[in-house]
Structure formats: structure tokens, C-alpha cells
Symmetry: C2
Subunit: 176 residues, 2 copies
């Protein structure tokens, strides 16, 4: 599976089976000379990757006023929910390698969203917490994502399906 930004694939319908009325395509009907995706759309990995790219793209657009990447957002979320943790703990929970976490934090700290402070217990550790501005920015980001990004996803999929989707993705991430 390749999967980058653009492109398109097979028609999709969320509801029950539907007898097609011979001449009434709900979608623009692909040009006869279009490249056939074929069985590729039947592999979860392919659709998963394409959906993930689209979701991240939309996420970035929604929080554009705050200039937060998905990675930065996740760090702010985790630091807020776990004040007093050190870099290793936050990074590893997010699956970020410690060396790669340094520049990420440098950026957040330089924008006054997050603070590093030496632990008095273990002076090797840097304790993380959000600044006042960090909490404010995170709060605005959450609202933007909830009201624009996630709300439109619920609209597209339906509330029940959206929740089931989240459940299955979590199951794959944790149990597969």
C-alpha cells in the first residue's frame, strides 16, 4: 500500500444493501478511463492509511489559527492530564522516542506553551507542565477540533458508527 495525499477509490455506502435503480448513480460515476483501484480497497491497511492522512490534513486545517500539529496537540493533552511527569514518561506513552521528543518540547517551550523544570527528587528528570498560555491554547484547540473536525466526522458517519469506529481502532492499536 502506497498512499499519500490525493486520489480516489471505489464507491461507498454506509447503510444497508441498496438495489441500484439501473440509472441513478448517487456519485458522479467514474470516467471509463479511470485507473481501477480493484481489490486494493479491500485491504484495511490501504483504507486506514488514506483515512488517516485525510483526518490529519483536516485536523491541521481546523487548528490552523493555533498552529498546532497533531503531535504537538497530543503532547499538550497528555501533559495537562499528567502534570508532574517527566519527558521519558510522556514521550513513551505517545510512542515518541526520547531523542525526537527534545525538539518537539523545545518548540512548545519556546512558544511558552509548556515548561520543563528539574525534579528535586531526581535531578536528572525534567518535570513537565503547561503554562497558563498552554492551557488556554489547548482549550481553544479542543473546542475547534470538537466543534469543527469531530463534529463533521459524526455528521458523516453517524454518531453510533463513529463511536464504533473509535472502538475498533482502539482495539487494533491495543490488542492486534
Amino acid at each position: 500500500m502506497a498512499v499519500s495525499r490525493t486520489a480516489s477509490a471505489g464507491t461507498v455506502k454506509t447503510g444497508k444493501r441498496q438495489v441500484r435503480p439501473a440509472r441513478a448513480p448517487s456519485r458522479p460515476a467514474p470516467p471509463a478511463d479511470a485507473v481501477r483501484i480493484g481489490d486494493l480497497s479491500g485491504f484495511l491497511g490501504y483504507s486506514l492509511k488514506r483515512a488517516q492522512l485525510r483526518i490529519f490534513e483536516d485536523f491541521i486545517g481546523c487548528v490552523a489559527p493555533l498552529q498546532l500539529t497533531p503531535a504537538q496537540f497530543s503532547v499538550l493533552m497528555l501533559v495537562e492530564a499528567n502534570p508532574g511527569r517527566n519527558q521519558t514518561e510522556i514521550a513513551s506513552t505517545l510512542g515518541i522516542l526520547r531523542p525526537n521528543f527534545v525538539a518537539l518540547l523545545d518548540e512548545l517551550e519556546s512558544r511558552d506553551l509548556c515548561l520543563r523544570s528539574r525534579s528535586s527528587n531526581d535531578r536528572r528528570s525534567h518535570i513537565l507542565r503547561l503554562t497558563e498560555k498552554g492551557r488556554a491554547v489547548l482549550s481553544r484547540a479542543r473546542k475547534l477540533i470538537e466543534t469543527r473536525h469531530e463534529a463533521r466526522l459524526r455528521e458523516l458517519l453517524g454518531n453510533e458508527n463513529r463511536d464504533l469506529l473509535l472502538l475498533m481502532l482502539g482495539k487494533i492499536a491495543q490488542e492486534f
Copy 2:
């Protein structure tokens, strides 16, 4: 959302609501000092990314005997289903930029899985098709993925849920 390789998150249950019997955790119960993922697991982007990484990881493991990446697999699939197409058509369908497609094809061609040949209609174009070996390798890859990778996913999620998952991912990729 950060999201790389390792880590874990909140408990998940696919079925209906379930009254917890006060003392009978189905999962090992997280250590009290574990970092709390919190609301982060409620955002689709986060779970989507983690699931995608896990799926690709497993995919790569399953086709390890054939040494195919998801991207290479998708190219072989598309070329087989669309013989006679040129590089631009295959690449753009997969969302791969033309410059980045060159090295990918170089590798497949050097392994005798795929062939470039100049089109007689338009001598700028390189027509793509699979070699005999390419078809054989792809066939083996499909079998490995179907019988190991996808089969285990169906087992984990249930057939019906798995199909619904695929449907929703396609919907997000195409309609969101």
C-alpha cells in the same frame, strides 16, 4: 496527536454496555502510576494513527518472506489490475508524487517484479506491467495477507464489524 510505535491507552470493549461486577477487570488493570491517556483516546485522529502504525507493522511482518512494503504491494496490485498504464497514472492514483515514484519503480524493476516500456503512442510515457515473477510474488503476498493479516483482523473485530470499519474508512478517505 503524536503517535509512533509503542504505548497503550484506555480499556476497550466491542460489545454492548456491560455493568462492571465491582471486582473483575477483564484486562490486567493498569498500574496506578501509569500515565493517563485521558481524553486523547476520544479523538479519532489519535486512534486512527496508532491503529495504522500497528496494521502496517503487522502487514510488513506478514509479507516479510517476500520483502514487500505496503507501498510496493499497492503498486504491484494497481499495475496488475491496470496493465498498460503509465507512471503518472499509477502514481497519482496512489497519491504518490511522480518524482517519488521513480525510485520506487527502480527498485521493483531491479527485482524483476515490474517492467517499464516506452509507449508507441506517446514516446514520453513509460507503460507499466508486471513480470511473470511479479505476478507470482504478488499472488503469494495476497495469500499471506489474506490468510494471516486480514484473517486475524476479522477474528479480532468480527466479520461484520471489520467490513463496517472498512466502509467507514473509505468514506472518510473519499467523502470527508
